[in-house]
């Protein structure tokens, strides 16, 4: 036991001291902060003013109406030239030259067909700007609507009064009770849980693999196994890397919580306008039970996959070989990810229930279901029991493969050889 502890401590200290750990630990909260701040900054950003010319071949006031609509708070300014239909291309050519000289951003051609068929054409240097095109599109639609209504004698303001936005509130029912959280919040939570589990299990599982391969390629393994049992080494390594993972997760968790609590302060810091809602990111309330479930499945899932990654590494001779050999293991983890949408669509459906019982998928599938709906206790217990039994079995197998594999160099073993290793 003392020797396992020595291995755990080395693994933890060396990993935490590593500059990549420090960088990723710091980068995590920065990324989270930018999730909050960047959309707000983008929204509040004083956009550069665009200058466009409206080429009006409709022979009426349509062009001037458009220009009038663009005169509002939108960052696009417009003036109008009236042309006859046959002369459009001549005018267009001279305007194209102006766009080339950057005195103009672009020009919009409107004709009779614009009002009758809804067609128009914009040519400009800013066509890739989503925001600019959306403004033009909206203004154009509005002008067409107004003109077409006027032609049948309807006042636009009457229509405007009839149009009101409809908001449907969704409320999630859990355990036969109406909760405060909305359906959207449940979805966001399930999504966040999935992201967290998928990324962390993969990230730290692969780290275990790297650590095992490193010991093999640097040939220190023989020094180690002369004083440590392979199982002590394996257990110490997996627990050590897992501890690093929990450490990093709790740093991220705490900083996310802090950032959310102090979001006003963070926004002020970057000079963004402070809005009451905390920007576009609505954080769902996370219950303690959910945290416990996520944590339990993270640990079980991590141990399951870390043991498999360690066995894969023990079979390989180099980093590159291990990366190739890990593919089947990663596929197991990707499977519930591909089926995520299905799980969220129908969290109590057959597929979701099956996936949350299959041990290699359940570490991700079950917490996602838990976040979305109420899972019957029997299913939860069955899922945990199956996972735990599989875990013991996989660790036993992995330890046997590891024990033989770490001292083997040369050809990677085939299935038959693997069976011999396990029996040995």
């Amino acid at each position: 036991m003392r020797k396992i502890w020595v291995v755990i401590r080395r693994e933890f200290v060396e990993k935490v001291r590593n500059k990549w750990f420090i960088i990723s630990t710091v980068l995590g909260p920065v990324l989270m902060a930018s999730f909050i701040v960047v959309p707000i900054l983008m929204a509040g950003r004083g956009a550069t003013e665009r200058h466009v010319r409206i080429v009006d071949a409709s022979g009426g006031d349509f062009g001037r109406e458009l220009a009038g609509l663009l005169g509002g708070p939108v960052p696009v300014r417009a003036d109008v030239v009236d042309v006859d239909l046959p002369n459009i291309e001549i005018v267009a050519d001279s305007l194209t030259a102006l766009v080339g000289e950057k005195t103009l951003d672009g020009y919009l051609i409107v004709t009779d067909a614009t009002v009758s068929d809804g067609t128009a054409e914009y040519r400009g240097s800013n066509v890739s700007s989503q925001a600019d095109m959306r403004i033009l599109q909206q203004v154009l639609s509005e002008a067409v609507l107004t003109t077409r209504l006027a032609r049948v004698g309807v006042d636009r303001s009457v229509v405007a009064a009839a149009q009101i936005p409809v908001r449907m509130r969704t409320v999630s029912i859990r355990g036969g009770e109406v909760t405060d959280s909305s359906g959207e919040a449940a979805f966001i939570l399930a999504y966040a849980v999935w992201m967290l589990l998928y990324i962390t299990i993969l990230l730290y599982g692969v780290q275990v693999m790297g650590a095992v391969v490193e010991e093999k390629t640097s040939r220190i393994i023989e020094v180690l196994v002369s004083s440590l049992r392979p199982f002590q080494l394996l257990a110490g390594k997996i627990v050590g890397v897992g501890a690093v993972g929990l450490f990093q997760l709790s740093i991220w968790g705490l900083s996310a919580w802090w950032l959310y609590r102090r979001r006003a302060f963070v926004l002020e810091l970057v000079g963004a306008p402070v809005t009451g809602s905390g920007g576009s990111l609505g954080f769902p309330e996370v219950a303690i039970g959910t945290v416990a479930i996520v944590l339990a499945y993270f640990l079980l899932g991590y141990f399951l996959y870390a043991a498999m990654f360690a066995a894969v590494a023990a079979m390989s001779n180099s980093e590159a070989e291990a990366r190739q050999a890990q593919i089947p293991v990663v596929m197991l983890l990707v499977l519930p990810t591909i089926l995520m949408v299905g799980i969220l669509q129908e969290p109590d459906g057959t597929m979701a229930v099956a996936l949350s019982l299959i041990p290699f998928c359940s570490p991700i599938a079950m917490p996602v279901r838990w976040a979305a709906v109420t899972v019957p206790p029997v299913e939860m217990a069955a899922s945990l029991a199956i996972l735990a039994v599989t875990l013991v079995l996989v660790i036993w197998l992995a330890a046997r493969i590891y024990r033989v594999g770490i001292l083997m160099y040369g050809k990677r073993p085939g299935p038959r050889e693997l069976v011999r290793w396990i029996r040995a």
Binding site: L224, S226, L228
Partner: protein, 345 residues
């Protein structure tokens, strides 16, 4: 193990001997005892029915060409791999090399260190894996780092060290916990001459202080200089073992080292005289000659002089271990390489 505590009655010696028959058919003094161990791999036998005893306090050489089974034998002693047959006893009891790692300093043939770890931390960690308490591991690491002149490098990662310095670190890791038994697999291969000498000095010093040393090598000259006893193996089998002096007496015919101006090429007619020479190994600079039974070295010298050759060296002596080995197993086996002896030579 060593004799039990002081409170034993005066007759303890008899008691010990009696009891020893119950659980130790071999000498109690053997720190390592192998009995009929065999290890098979798919397609070949790496070690075949090997028995040997390494006496306490000895410097013991395990000799043989590459692929003879030395590393496999040592790995079995360390319990890194398990023999298919036979028994291994360390320190007089059935424990494994791993359980006794606090008593054993093991330098494997395949060397390696954590490249990103700092030298000091690495040494402390490796000592701790052998059961040394953290505090004394730190003290020992400090002491040895100072002694081998690496003080300035103690907090640098292993990667920053030169190869020679890394070799020193590897060696320190082997002896840091002051083991009673050193097991060194090809200890001097890959080391530069300065480090080799330094390591030999430390090994000799540890041996003088009572440590037992088992080391393997394929270089007979090294073994000849350092060892009290040797075991020579070839193709997994023991060829002979015993004290070096006795082996020489028993197996070594009288030998002459002869070197003349013009090199060995000038010698053939003399060497062909079967009344004087049983056989001769010719090297560019000299010939190692085994005298025919009853032949007088003086007559050989006279025969050489009669050819008008100028003698530069004429040395009568015992056969070298290398020659004994070649005579016993034949030149083919002596140079047999590892082709058939995969996966571990």
């Amino acid at each position: 193990m060593a004799p039990p505590p002081v409170w034993l009655p005066v007759c303890s010696a008899n008691w010990l001997i009696d009891l020893s028959h119950l659980w130790a058919p071999m000498s109690l003094d053997g720190i390592i005892e192998l009995q009929g161990i065999t290890k098979r791999y798919a397609g070949h036998i790496a070690v075949r029915d090997l028995s040997l005893v390494v006496p306490r306090g000895a410097v013991y050489g395990l000799l043989g060409p590459n692929g003879a089974g030395k590393t496999t034998t040592i790995r079995m002693i360390m319990n890194i791999i398990v023999p298919d047959q036979g028994r291994i006893r360390l320190f007089g009891s059935q424990g494994s090399g791993r359980d006794l790692s606090h008593l054993i300093g093991y330098l494997p043939e395949e060397r390696g260190l954590y490249r990103k770890m700092r030298v000091f931390d690495l040494l402390v960690f490796l000592a701790e894996t052998k059961g040394v308490p953290r505090r004394s591991a730190k003290e020992q690491a400090d002491r040895w780092i100072g002694r081998l002149g690496l003080t300035d490098w103690a907090s640098k990662p292993v990667n920053d060290l030169s190869k020679g310095m890394q070799q020193k670190v590897q060696f320190m890791a082997t002896i840091l916990h002051e083991p009673e038994l050193l097991i060194l697999d090809e200890p001097f291969s890959g080391f530069d001459p300065v480090n080799t000498q330094r390591m030999k000095d430390v090994v000799v010093e540890l041996a003088q202080r009572g440590a037992t040393v088992l080391f393997s090598t394929h270089i007979m000259e090294q073994a000849e200089k350092l060892c009290d006893s040797v075991c020579i193996i070839s193709r997994g089998r023991k060829v002979l073992d015993g004290r070096v002096s006795e082996i020489r007496r028993e197996h070594g015919a009288r030998n002459v080292i002869l070197s003349v101006d013009g090199g060995a090429a000038a010698l053939p007619s003399v060497l062909a005289d079967r009344s004087l020479v049983t056989r001769a190994d010719q090297y560019p600079q000299y010939a190692e000659i085994e005298l025919a039974p009853g032949a007088d070295p003086q007559r050989l010298l006279e025969a050489v002089m009669r050819q008008g050759l100028t003698v530069r060296r004429f040395e009568v002596g015992e056969a070298s271990l290398h020659k004994i080995f070649v005579d016993l197993v034949g030149p083919d086996a002596a140079t047999a390489r590892a082709e058939e002896a995969l996966p571990d030579a």
